[in-house]
Amino acid sequence: MDVVFWVCAAGAVASGIAVFRVDSMARATFALLASFVFASVTVLLADLTYLGILVILMMVMEMVIMVVFMVMYMMNPAGLMPMTMVHNKKGALVISVATFGVLAAGSVLVDWPGTDAARPADPTMALGQALMGPRMLTMVVLGLALFATIVATVVLATHRGRYDRYGDRLDRRPPDDPVRGGLGR
């Protein structure tokens, strides 16, 4: 158990560093994915099977979509020309090392309380009961936030609305699309 944890921890940190060290955008993205997978194995080790697997599932999807955007927008997607795109490298390094020092000191020095409380037989069930019961408000807020995000991102990202598709009186059939869709409307 311990061995698995330390291997995964080292893997997560190493691939996390690799994200900002490699030149290729594809490699950076998949290094980040590797970091997430390693980290979620440690979450699995803490008995949180559902959340650990959920993170893997989401991160694979997210990173694949991310890599598409990376390759679309970045200067040097394959890293064929060595280049850096950083500003204030030293300052960032100092700040982050200092942060790590503080946090690590805190983790080591503080005497974290243990607990004798009984572990739930099924943590997934406990989470579900909480989200659908006493923590319902959290769930509602999360749902609303996600919905707002969907609307806002679509509005931000697209440049074609329904008036472009269906005409000023919304009566153009079929709509004016770059390619015909599967329903032939």
Binding site: A26, Y50, L57, T124, G182
Partner: protein, 315 residues
């Protein structure tokens, strides 16, 4: 047809070494699916179908001696890793699929595990397309990501529907919950959505646009030798994993008369697999730009309504 299972549907996890027979079984089924496909192809070509069943073996020997290619400015690590990732994820996805009453791992969130593992195909196919630095490959990789965005939500809603129906994410519980009535009977839309998404996730015909003939092989266009073998094996094993998972999710798991439950699992898996392969040969390739609209305008609402219906029935 409702029927009562003769056995207790509880699933017991087996020892770690049972992963080896699982691997063998997956390879066997993957080969059988390929051979069946080759037989159908031979029939269309007006050839003897007997020798055709062995043609995939001769393709494998050819790939074993073939040189591995290199392309200019390829990203070798990501490219050659892609096939391996695909194969490993496809095998891991089957780790939670019970064979009768045995499963390699009986996770309490088995359905989520299965879903997470088959999503790895997104990354693998994109990487296979990106790696060799070739235009056709890359377009194939992008096509698969688009296809993923089309099939994934109906797939997730189908999985959610059965989980709601059984009140559990554990595959064994889901199989056990069908003792009275198979889920396929009262969740037909979810079953259909599941089968479509299995074909799409393993980019098998008719959802093979990512490796289509118009792109000269698309995402796999530059793969040769062992790399190609691993990639193709990964695709077939993924198809088998999806077909095998349909059995505990919709077809009552190992339940059936007379025969022991493990053999019913095998028979049902073979039937689903044959159905998928047959469906692939009867249709042209479904292009993503057409499938996308159907998936979002028809499949997603339909599977959502199915989930709603099941939720109401259950509660």
């Amino acid at each position: 047809m409702a029927r009562v299972a003769t056995t207790d549907a509880a699933v017991e996890p087996t020892a770690w070494w049972s992963a080896l027979p699982l691997l063998a079984l997956l390879c066997l089924f993957a080969f059988a699916a390929t051979a069946f496909d080759a037989v159908l192809a031979a029939r269309a070509a007006g050839r003897s179908t007997r020798s055709a069943a062995l043609e995939p073996l001769r393709t494998v020997t050819g790939l074993l001696v073939q040189q591995r290619r290199r392309t200019l400015a390829a990203d070798g690590l990501l490219w050659r890793g892609a096939g391996l990732v695909l194969l490993v994820a496809a095998v891991l996805a089957s780790g939670v699929t019970p064979l009768g009453r045995w499963a390699v791992a009986d996770l309490d969130v088995g359905v989520v595990w299965f879903n997470a593992m088959e999503i790895v195909a997104w990354a693998a196919v994109w990487l296979a397309g990106w790696g060799p630095n070739s235009a056709f490959s890359l377009v194939g990789g992008y096509r698969f990501v688009a296809q993923g965005l089309a099939y994934e939500l109906p797939h997730m809603f189908a999985l959610t529907t059965v989980a709601i129906g059984a009140g559990s994410l554990r595959v064994a519980d889901i199989a056990g919950a069908q003792r009275g009535l198979w889920f396929v009977v009262w969740m037909p839309v979810a079953f259909l959505g599941y089968l479509v998404s299995v074909l799409a996730m393993s980019f098998s015909r008719p959802f093979d646009q990512a490796t289509g003939s118009d792109l000269a092989g698309g995402a796999g266009a530059e793969l040769s030798g062992v790399d190609r073998l691993v990639f193709l094996a990964g695709r077939q094993v993924l198809l088998v994993s999806g077909a095998a998972m349909a059995v505990p999710l919709f077809l009552g798991g190992g339940a059936g008369p007379l025969l022991p439950d493990w053999s019913w699992s095998l028979v049902k898996t073979a039937a689903v697999l044959a159905l998928l392969v047959l469906a692939g040969r009867r249709m042209p390739t479904v292009r993503v730009e057409r499938f996308m609209e159907v998936a979002w305008m028809v499949l997603i609402p339909a599977t959502l309504l199915q989930a709603l219906f099941v939720s109401i029935v259950v509660s």
